[in-house]
Symmetry: C2
Subunit: 587 residues, 2 copies
Amino acid sequence: MPSYTAPLDDMLFLFEKLRDNKNYNELEKYNEVNLDLAKDILEEAAKINQNLLLPLALAGDENPAKLENGVVRTPPGYKEAYNKYIEDGWISLSCDPKYGGQGMPKTISAFFDEMLSSTSLSFKLYSELTIGAYNCLLHHASDETKDKYLPKMVEGKWSGTMCLTEPVCGTDLGMLKTKAEEQADGTFKISGQKIFITSGDHDLTENIIHLVIARATDSPKGTKGISLFLVPKFIVNEDGSTGTRNGVSTGSVEHKMGIKGSATCVLNFDEATGYLIGTKNRGLNQMFTMMNLERILVGIQGLGISEIAYQNSLAYAKERKQGKTNNTKSTNGADFIIEHADIRKSLLNMKSIIEGERALCFWLSQQTEVSLNHPNEKVKKEASDYVSLMTPVVKSLFTDLAMEITSDAMQIHGGYGFTKDQGIEQLYRDNRITPIYEGTNSVQAADLVSRKLLNKNGNIIGKFLEMIKEETNSKNEKVKIFTKQLNYYLDILSKFTDWIIDKNKIDKDDVSSAANDYLKTLGYVSLAYSWIKILEVSFKDLDSNKKFYIDKINTAQFYFEKILPRAEYHYKSAISGSSNIMKFNFN
Amino acid sequence: MPSYTAPLDDMLFLFEKLRDNKNYNELEKYNEVNLDLAKDILEEAAKINQNLLLPLALAGDENPAKLENGVVRTPPGYKEAYNKYIEDGWISLSCDPKYGGQGMPKTISAFFDEMLSSTSLSFKLYSELTIGAYNCLLHHASDETKDKYLPKMVEGKWSGTMCLTEPVCGTDLGMLKTKAEEQADGTFKISGQKIFITSGDHDLTENIIHLVIARATDSPKGTKGISLFLVPKFIVNEDGSTGTRNGVSTGSVEHKMGIKGSATCVLNFDEATGYLIGTKNRGLNQMFTMMNLERILVGIQGLGISEIAYQNSLAYAKERKQGKTNNTKSTNGADFIIEHADIRKSLLNMKSIIEGERALCFWLSQQTEVSLNHPNEKVKKEASDYVSLMTPVVKSLFTDLAMEITSDAMQIHGGYGFTKDQGIEQLYRDNRITPIYEGTNSVQAADLVSRKLLNKNGNIIGKFLEMIKEETNSKNEKVKIFTKQLNYYLDILSKFTDWIIDKNKIDKDDVSSAANDYLKTLGYVSLAYSWIKILEVSFKDLDSNKKFYIDKINTAQFYFEKILPRAEYHYKSAISGSSNIMKFNFN
């Protein structure tokens, strides 16, 4: 079983040194969350993750969630751990105090999400979708509905799902067939089949609140006829108690390559009672409130799994001896593999990606908070634009790089990486869902190039690039060396952006075929931007924590020298266009 | 379950149009294998793969090989299939007729190996190592030993293994502990533990011939004290019948992420009777005869798995509808995903890699034949140098790219790629061993840069680059457009090579940390070289088979525009050196 120690040093470094941000600082609500409080919370979070949750990963892999007599059973130990988890209030960390939550900002909860992803993604998913459903209801449901459902969800006694996918449609929800028939009392009867529903059924909570998209019988075809419904597993009585079983049943639980502890269900809705949430026919937009936050969380899943893969690779490299290094001092026998240049390179590759991602994510958490809570609408909108720009990047880049990192971790472990003994192959399998669910990484890239660069508020990407230039315009000569490199790639990104914007007018297939490359280029530059901010602090505060900051500077240097050049390949490969691709005859 | 149709068109194209090679043409023995014979054999090979072997993949994954009361049981159906397989003589395809083989050149058998890798890698492994052991004995054993063991192995009644790895050593065999004590009769008593032994035990054959490396009690430490021994599971009597059980037993069968149908064993040797093969203390060199051919086969495994992943992605893309394309003609409902630019790009990415690899592999098969059978020692040596140069490239590049391709296949299948239904995730898991076994891909890269570029016979890489330049110096204006691009990357490769050779003298850590990048650069350029040869034929013979050759030209164009630029990234990333990596403090 892999071991895990929460990377508190790095998290608290970000919280202490990179939190200063004009707009974020203006959020009164969060001024009270100071470094001491952050430290207390994260230390406790580390404990529950390291002690209680880490063993659940293996338990879930060896005893997958299963359907027995119509009931989904979670793996051994999940129920006990879940009870402790909600008892200690962890599920409500980021929720509104009005509904019983602890009101912590995403700058804290994102770190906690990372820890959960490191220790057991399957276990995490049972509460992650609850928070997704909570957010969706918080923004779109009536006060009455919120009062009725949210407290129990925030308490963790009830869980939530998001029911989108059907056998014929995942990416393309306009094709959905689940129908909603309005009743005399204003409720709806929901009928249809939903597939790939994470935590669609399980034995951890007293009730499950399904958020289901369906088409009302009098709604138009396509995406404009989709509405959002709340469909509880058990009908909730007026007094808040759970009543009769609703018409939703579990058809099957998927057999998957990874995250086996998570119950991925086929749900059959058979005239189930549903309650319309928000405006009719606006269901897809409402669901996307939830989807966007969820997509960032999937990126964080990739980060969390990368971190535990790195920690275990590092530990193994320090204890495994094999071969002599180029400058061996050993006269007899092998050296530790951590002394070998290519193993060191592989470890630094992981470290430089992980720490860059964590810093980018911290910045994105701040922007998310500003986008949700800033009093000035213009500031709020600008932050919201940044969040929407970075959502597909974080989702796709972090999950793809987590495949690279978990794969490299297997290579470092050699044959032991491929067998079940060390648990490394499980990290690789578990992470493999992250580039697929919540919209495949190609769907994210398409979303980025077609909807996120420009919108009715203007040139989002242009503003983002301006912001990077301003924030990285260091006066420190040592930082300038790095900024100069960044500027080379910023220039490439600008040219690439212009190319995309031009081609969007004249040949959309060129854009579609370049989308993944563009996302990667933007992503690598964004990580470099985060590294510049880390470097600024590292050079300034060097003497206060020499070992820590020298590590940071060396890790940054690795990123700039070895990884950032990938951005240029993506650009060169992409701009050759798509005519050859589109004319190819696959028959 | 994935479907599979052997790519006979492409194989026969290579055999017909790319077989003309001066040195190869001089091999009298193989002049008799003409196109008609190749066609007959490959058509039969396709049938047994498509009909008999393909279903074994799923059977093996669902019912892994297991140890029961000391005996390893193969998955259901393996025994029946194996009997049919050896009855029809497939195992002996490339073996010497002197021992009952069919004497087919590698230009044929490599295609068959590819097909087997596509249909069931786990099943293939039960005979692959037999051929490895056969080759090792053929080159190093006495005539008496060969006469005693080879006919039964060629017949498939006995199988073979290669026992190298031990708990403390995989990469670094100098540390091995298995000992060999010489007896009065000239035999040895072998004692020790070997791990990760593919087909170490099973129920398919009457006997298993283990080739074991061990240290004689009077041999020196390190790699110079390793000898090679033949250790049969059952002692073979003078008359060739199988006698008493030898002192080798199966400790356990590994639980692995993939190739579950293959029995990966821990073997315990307890004073087992062993027979010295070849010269004492030269065991490692002798084993490497087997290892090199085996490493090429692992590359071909990657190619085979890539092919079946591509075929199934293509079929799925033609039947799955999702979303509207940029230029949709559909007025209602979605388009087939094969109409989407990014799916098409992903499919062409696969196709251009696969067909380039198959062509490179065909050239390598010819070189291997020349290296084994050419009457002129100088020609033979030169071919042998090319084979040794390309062995790590084919092993590593093909297996890494097979991970890219099986991963992209999962993405094309979306959620269905991650569940067990379509069998795509199994291809991804099965292939994941290929970058690890027979020496991890990093070990291959280290081998390439430290031993394969230059040797006592001179500048191998220099000759190879010269050969590429000569063979791609086309007079066809249309080919010249591609050659010009190739030359740009050849220039990069030359500079990279000079850098490696220089650094090998002054800073070996720079070389070690750049090794994987160098291997990739050489690999991508080598694939481009293969594509140029295909293009030469395609433009020349265009009118004779228009659809086929236009596909080839478009696929080549994709390779040059979208994939080959990766070579430059690897160069740029690598030459920043290793000082930062080596000084990093991981404690």
